[in-house]
Symmetry: C2
Subunit: 342 residues, 2 copies
DNA sequence: TCTCGTAACTTTATCGTTGACTTTGACCTC
DNA sequence: GAGGTCAAAGTCAACGATAAAGTTACGAGA
């Protein structure tokens, strides 16, 4: 069955170590011997036993990724990109979904720690940093993706959320919206950053959010946020002054919001322009194609993978590094109020 | 740092094996000793080294999943369900995406074999069975998901594709469509089954497909199939007799088809009713909400996970088992031609 | 009293690989 | 010819856990 170094060594009358050296391209092996060993390895389709290797080296050539929801295209794309980039370097990737549940997430992380993965990547649903202290105790390096935690000095790869907020809001202002509302997300770094960007963009036009024009997505139950977006938009429509543009925390909440607007008999973008965030793949096919800020998820994935590999290969812990990906505005019908393409 | 059995044994003046036995609930341990060991384990937060365990046992408590495209909600949902179900039993899941590329898929599988995963699950993009012979040689059990191969006797979990075709086509016929066309998928089991179901449903109404009314999705480039669906629908619209109903291989091709229909100035469903397959999560939010056959992807995932766990835990190879999940028709506006809800 | 069984541990060997040292022999130099 | 260098092997001891086969001590049964 599965061939071992020992078998090859016996077959060729060599010692196990010699064969092992060939495997790892060690210099002190004769050309002839090397050839014979390599030939035999091919013949028996030798595959090193990684468990044994891990045992000796303390490394597993394995990474772990935990995302809030694998069904969400943003995270699916990140996962796919990380998997593709790391596979090429001989690493395999454990992927799991925490369902936005902090406790489940902790369990996933514990399992990854028990498996001694070389690096953990998390798009975290935690509200406290306790969980990361736990990871640090095990001395397993980790990278936060998409969501940061206050002023924690950690490895991070994600979009520049303030830029997202500015991009979306500025775009709406350019489209002559003057009462731009914001449906903000839960109290995590991404939502806070986007809100900040929204305010800054308004400020740069000498505007401030009107009363009731910043509304929170409920966090209840539907974590994709369609229902939350629907409810939030209904509240906005009932506000003293109706908004003429809405920047939504993400695409799913934008879907809900658009539905609420259409249900109310209003037109998009004429009465209210809508911008989401995430640029999910089906934006083009919606009732009203949705303008959206692209977070460059694939890019995030690639950068995260590179960073993870660098960390995994490094002998020593290095200083935490934060990488910010620049977002990109993708304009579609839901916010295009002028045909001149401005 | 990471505590080992040895450390605990030293701390308590016991042998390593005794501690190991406590860990595995071995009977011949005194009550007092067991208590002391468990207490210490908790104190130092002991995590068994799975590499060492694997080395001895030859098992890794690890599963591998390869899907054609993690971005596709159908596969993402399956992946998520498998991951959730197996995690509870202490198994971790490697997930990777083959991008519908048979060669890449083989590479992924090789990596999983090298890692000695206990079971491999594949939604395969292969056109030949060669690759599975390779898996069999390594004696690693595997489960095919979604797509079968001819008459190969293998473990399989997927939807009953003939039922899918019948369900969709019968529904269109019930909606008084009389010229039902089919945009079929590539030459794999799923597409063949659905085509078969389509024909059988027609036959049971004493109909046969009209000339030019079964069209293949091109396999070129865009593997999600929107472009393919668009092109195929354009051809259908140019056919001698225009169809009044289209059953599309999947939802993404249905998106493309719907766009072609709308672009041609026709109405959905009045002029042409459309049914897809996959029931992807955003169906409700489309320009015309899409009727679709739900393949029960979560269900598929759960069943696949159960089967994988059973196989992983079994001492001996057992007879291959095929499980078929029943599909479900979800009717939305794209095919609802009567308001009486028939 | 002697054997035997049993509960509760311990010893030893093993899994497949690797890192740190040795050994061996050929060849060179002074 | 003694000593040194170098290439090309080989030995040994881990790595952390487990399975199988010992070893005690003690009480029961004959």
């Amino acid at each position: 069955m599965a061939a071992r170094l020992k078998d090859i060594a016996n077959d060729l009358g060599l010692s196990v170590v010699t064969v092992s050296k060939v495997l790892r391209d060690h210099p002190d092996i004769g050309a002839e011997t090397r050839k014979r060993v390599l030939k035999r390895m091919r013949e028996v389709n030798y595959q090193p036993n990684l468990a044994a290797r891990s045992l000796v080296s303390g490394r597993t050539w394995t990474l772990g990724l935990v995302v809030p929801d694998l069904l969400h295209p943003f995270f699916a794309e990140i996962a796919k990109a990380i998997s593709a980039a790391t596979r090429k370097q001989g690493y395999s990737l454990f992927i799991s979904s925490s369902d936005e549940d902090p406790e489940l997430e902790v369990q996933e992380i514990k399992q990854l720690l028990a498996r001694r993965v070389d690096v953990i990547l998390v798009a975290s649903a935690q509200s406290t940093v306790e969980c990361f202290r736990m990871i640090e105790e095990q001395k397993t390096p980790y990278i936060l993706i998409d969501r940061r935690f206050g002023d924690m000095e950690t490895n991070f790869v994600g979009v520049d959320d303030e830029a997202v907020g500015m991009l979306a809001t500025s775009h709406l202002l350019e489209q002559q919206c003057r009462r731009v509302a914001h449906i903000r997300g839960p109290n995590v770094s991404t939502a806070i950053g986007r809100l900040e960007g929204y305010k800054r963009a308004l400020a740069s036009h000498h505007l401030t959010p009107l009363p009731g024009h910043v509304i929170s997505l409920g966090t209840s139950g539907d974590h994709r946020g369609e229902k939350g977006g629907y409810e939030a938009a209904k509240q906005l429509l009932a506000a003293d002054t109706r908004p003429d543009g809405i920047f939504c925390f993400n695409d799913t909440s934008a879907l809900g919001a658009m539905r609420a607007i259409l249900d109310a008999g209003l037109r998009i973008p004429e009465d209210i322009a809508v911008v989401g965030c995430g640029n999910f793949s089906y934006s083009d096919f919606l009732r009203v194609p949705l303008s959206s800020v692209d977070q460059g998820s694939e890019n995030i994935g690639r950068h995260a993978a590179d960073l993870a590999l660098r960390i995994a290969r490094a002998k020593k812990q290095s200083k935490p590094k934060a990488e910010y990906i620049a977002p990109r505005m993708v304009v579609r019908a839901s916010s295009r109020r002028f045909s001149d393409g401005r």
